[in-house]
């Protein structure tokens, strides 16, 4: 028998420690592992470096004081262009940032996944990405005069993704229009966690998904948490779309509105959250 990798949200959080670099899958406000993000948000963890194609995962962790640094190419709620909690944290000087071109970001994760220290690209040349990231350097191609940006590997201590279907061994499928970079996040990390809408038997995976959608295999995963509606309020096509009303509520919860939002939706366990948003 192969391993049963089922874990709880609390077990995931207890495997993390202060100061870690964590990668979060999805894209903007799409298929984010929000139940894991919420669990981290209500934990005592601190000083995290968050690596993300950023959406409300970044905003929520900033608003709850978990973040030392954000590694990002953008942070957006998609239908609301600016993530207000990230904006507030930045304008208060509360978080440090490593701002990348979104393609450089991909190459950094790929380098970590492929266990090479660096990948080269033109993306970033001439831009202020080079100015504000003094650790970034250019290299000359050994085969020509061309200068390229040397993107360092973005090694993650832990990564989290939310998949539509998974089995308890860690095989998982996306069913929506885009995998985003979820497989790369997992491959770039030391500890790898998948939350899933629905846990199915291995033999039933192909009844739920096409084989081309089975893009996460069990060698890429250490823990699986069954988390129905776990991407809420981000989209999780085709299981559900984005909860735009709730997203507006979240986006409006800057300042005085934050304390009641926190008490009602974040400082509660996942089942209480799901009950509260179902009302």
């Amino acid at each position: 028998m192969t391993a049963d990798k089922r874990v709880t949200l609390d077990e995931i959080v207890s495997s993390l420690s202060d100061g870690m670099t964590i990668g979060i899958g999805g894209w903007g406000s799409r298929r984010k592992p929000m139940s894991i993000v919420r669990a981290i948000a209500r934990s005592t963890l601190k000083d995290l470096t968050v690596v993300s194609y950023g959406g409300p995962d970044v905003g929520l962790l900033c608003a709850t004081g978990k973040v030392k640094r954000v590694v990002f190419g953008f942070v957006t709620l998609d239908s609301i262009p600016i993530e207000p909690h990230f904006r507030a944290a930045r304008q208060a000087g509360a978080v440090e940032v490593t701002e990348y071109d979104e393609g450089m970001f991909y190459l950094g994760l790929l380098a970590a996944a492929w266990r090479v220290p660096v990948l080269a690209t033109r993306a970033g040349l001439g831009s202020d990405i080079m100015r504000v990231n003094p650790q970034l350097t250019t290299v000359q191609s050994p085969y020509s005069d061309e200068q390229l940006v040397a993107v360092p590997a973005l090694q993650l201590d832990a990564a989290f993704v939310h998949m539509n279907r998974a089995d308890q061994r860690g095989n998982a499928a996306f069913l929506g229009p885009d995998l985003y970079f979820d497989d790369v996040f997992l491959m770039a990390a030391k500890q790898r966690f998948v939350s899933t809408e629905r846990l199915v038997e291995t033999g039933d995976l192909l009844q739920e998904a096409r084989v081309q959608q089975l893009r996460v295999n069990r060698s890429m995963v250490d823990g699986v948490v069954h988390s129905p509606h776990g991407a809420h309020f981000t989209s999780c096509e085709p299981d559900y779309g984005r909860d735009e009303d709730f997203q507006k509520l979240y986006a409006g919860s800057v300042g005085d509105a934050w304390a009641p939002f926190l008490a009602r939706y974040i400082d509660v366990d996942e089942s209480a959250y799901q009950a509260a948003v179902a009302q």
Partner: protein, 242 residues
Amino acid sequence: MTFEATLAEYCVVACAEAFRGDGEVLASAFGFIPTLGARLARATFEPDLLLSDGEAYLVANDLPLGSSDKVIEGWIPFRSVFDVVWGGRRHVMMGATQLDRYGNQNISSLGPHEKPKVQLIGSRGAPGNTVNHATSYWVPNHSPRVFVEEVDFVSGVGTNRGAVDIKRIITNLCSIDFVNADRSARLRSVHPFHSVDDVISNTGFDLVAENVTESRAPTDEELKLIREVLDPTNLRDTEIKS
């Protein structure tokens, strides 16, 4: 039959003109008016353009804004977009919070980067786009706050910093290109309802303005396409002040 074109419709046509001559490349447009421009170009003089739905599909039909009645001709998830960007077969039309005379663009932040006065969306793919393929910009609110001497942060690089091809900046007032010898901003045409002086006084750097023409009017066929096919609910008018 004669039609009276609105300013928004002139802007759509100016955006479409930015894609003229592109051939079989991915036209990525952000905003209602740029999206309409790309769709109009393909529906008329640039039939080989590839258009995505902003999600993950290439769409073959003349899709109205807001419609999901798609004829899908391809799958282009974000990872494949990077293949297209780095392969160079793309022309993007992005927004810009600030632009300078060489087309350096800022969508990152205003004020010092370590503690911004205003945090924007982030540089997205702008650095990589501009050094890999054709780039244009859409500015619905042409003002000296957008067109500045020096941008606070260079997200998309301009022609003086290694951009391969800054094609156009289309605004609610005019169309700007970079065909001068020093590849600096040149006023190409002014939309009706506005003057060259309006443009100059709303631009925070010295804009070259010689032999400026009036922006091309939409043809009757183009107006019909815009009004009856591509934007029957008139979302284009919500993007600019008339």
